[in-house]
Amino acid sequence: MSSLLIKDLRKSYGSVEVLKNINLEAESGEFVALVGPSGCGKSTLLSIIAGLESVTSGEIRIDDILVNDRAPKDRDIAMVFQSYALYPTMSVRENMTFGMESRHVPKAQQQEAIDRVSALLQIEPLLDRKPSQLSGGQRQRVAMGRALVRDPKLFLFDEPLSNLDAKLRIEMRTEIKKLHQNVGKTTVYVTHDQIEAMTLASRIAVMHKGVLQQYDTPKMIYERPVNRFVASFMGSPTMNFLDARVARSESGVGLVLAAGDGSVLPLPSGTFSNLAPDRNIVLGVRPEHFSPAHEQRAERKGGQSVIMRAKVDMVEPTGSQTILMVTIGGSDAVIACEPDHAPSQGDTVSFAVDMTKACLFDPATEQRL
């Protein structure tokens, strides 16, 4: 069992700073997901943890031991690559023993590890095949097997599922989750896919342009994103952002939509009481926090909702939910609703918006208020 600590980490390629002051810590057994758009530095960070890239400044500690200057092989980590990186000229068995051979593990012990892991991943029938004779999902398993035969301190995954088709990806996701529950190793998992991050991770690190935006539990990341970027990156369909203005009345604080009819939407009492009147603001509402007006869902859970009228421009059924492209006042928004209650195109419908779940952002700094 081992912990990981990243402190004030910076990485530059020439004059380009790719990682800017990253601070991250993972407790023993934790599953950390690194997410962010393409090019934000996820793979670079992973390579630095693995020792495949040098740090420009800052510290990497595994089990409180500074490993900045240790070679990859001395860090006691195992890594699964996006491309799987199986050795093409070796059989599956040789792929899995290669690392143990390098470390002079006795033959009997190697065999034991192969037996254990191939049973776990159900790849026994594949042991004598070459990687070119495997399907994508099988290669993925073998790549995981290669990491699992050793007993490393850390597991690093770089988008291990991104080359699989949608169905297999979901299957493997579940397997990885099971695997982690069984093995309980500290894991850093890079992914593009926010659903993977939400389902697997105990904590998620959201990165953008080399900056760590937020590092928190999936629930907090989803419900309390620190800024507009995190809010829009996590969640699908993405969060709606509506420009609004603060209005104060004797009953409390409310919002007036910039593109709306001028009616005041009250904020839950006791919240945001320090907002200056007339200041501009961005209201963030997730698509699933719209519900049919009469159901009073928020109120039944002790929350508070406001009514917004939306004109339905387009209806996209996905099966489990129906996505509505709507206009609220003058601005576009996306609403997710139950297929059975979906309005039709062209309707104007009233929706209740759960204000307890809504987020307010500063339009200039984009930070959540």
Partner: protein, 300 residues
Amino acid sequence: MADAVPHRDFDPLSTGSFRQRILSKTSVYMALTIFALGYLVPLVIILINTLRPLDEIVRSGFIAWPHDVSLQYWGEAWSTFCIGGTCEGVSRFFKNSLMMAVPATILSTAIGLVNGYVLSKWRFRGSDALFGIITLGVFMPAQMTLLPWAFVLGKLGLSNTISGLVLVHTVQGLSFTTLFCRNYFVNIPDDLIKAARIDGAGFWRIFRRIILPLSPPIIIVAVIWQFTGIWNEFLFGTVFTSGANQPITSAIVAFSGSGTGERHYNVEAAAVIMAAIPPLFIYLVGGKYFVRGLTQGAVK
């Protein structure tokens, strides 16, 4: 296991009407036959002349049908003919050439593999510049290097030795083998190297266990290229060695150009063909892989 799929090459001439097809096929085969004859006729003439007695060649000229056919001139050419004072035929020079070409091919290919590995997978500051400088040798005319080599060989005490020629050809060949190998290895995914490093393998273990097993196509290319090039090379052999230490290419020129007495055309022809056999052999054995290696990427 791949099923045996009946494979048919794309044949652009098999379309159109029957007459058109006959016409197009005939013209293509005619053209190819003419070119093939153009290349092969000289070889056939030389081959025939190795079998004819000298007086017959002198009487009826080079291009004539043989009457008294005999293999004795091959024997003479191999073991008894006198060249530059020694009467051992070309066998001695043939051995010289082997002693030169085989080690030089092996060395230049081996070093080229390691160079290519370093320059593609263990880049360092300035490695691209270094690669550029090494490949400059590909474009450098051999004549330019004569004087420096004469100096170096003299200093090392390797003038007029086969070892000297091995050194020259190894170094001269490095540019090519490094270029071939680096460009081939660049296509091997870096992730393989990273994975191996995490697996605890070092520089040489990665080379032996991961790079080399992927290299046969490029090794074949380098070996064929180097062996034929070194075997057929003539300038260095003539300039840096003399007498009994010459490679076969230089020796043949020496005896045909000696100018004293009559020319033994039949023996000379046999010697020339003997000198051409090893590269031909290498090409026949490895030619298929040569083309494949030049066009194929490292990892599918």
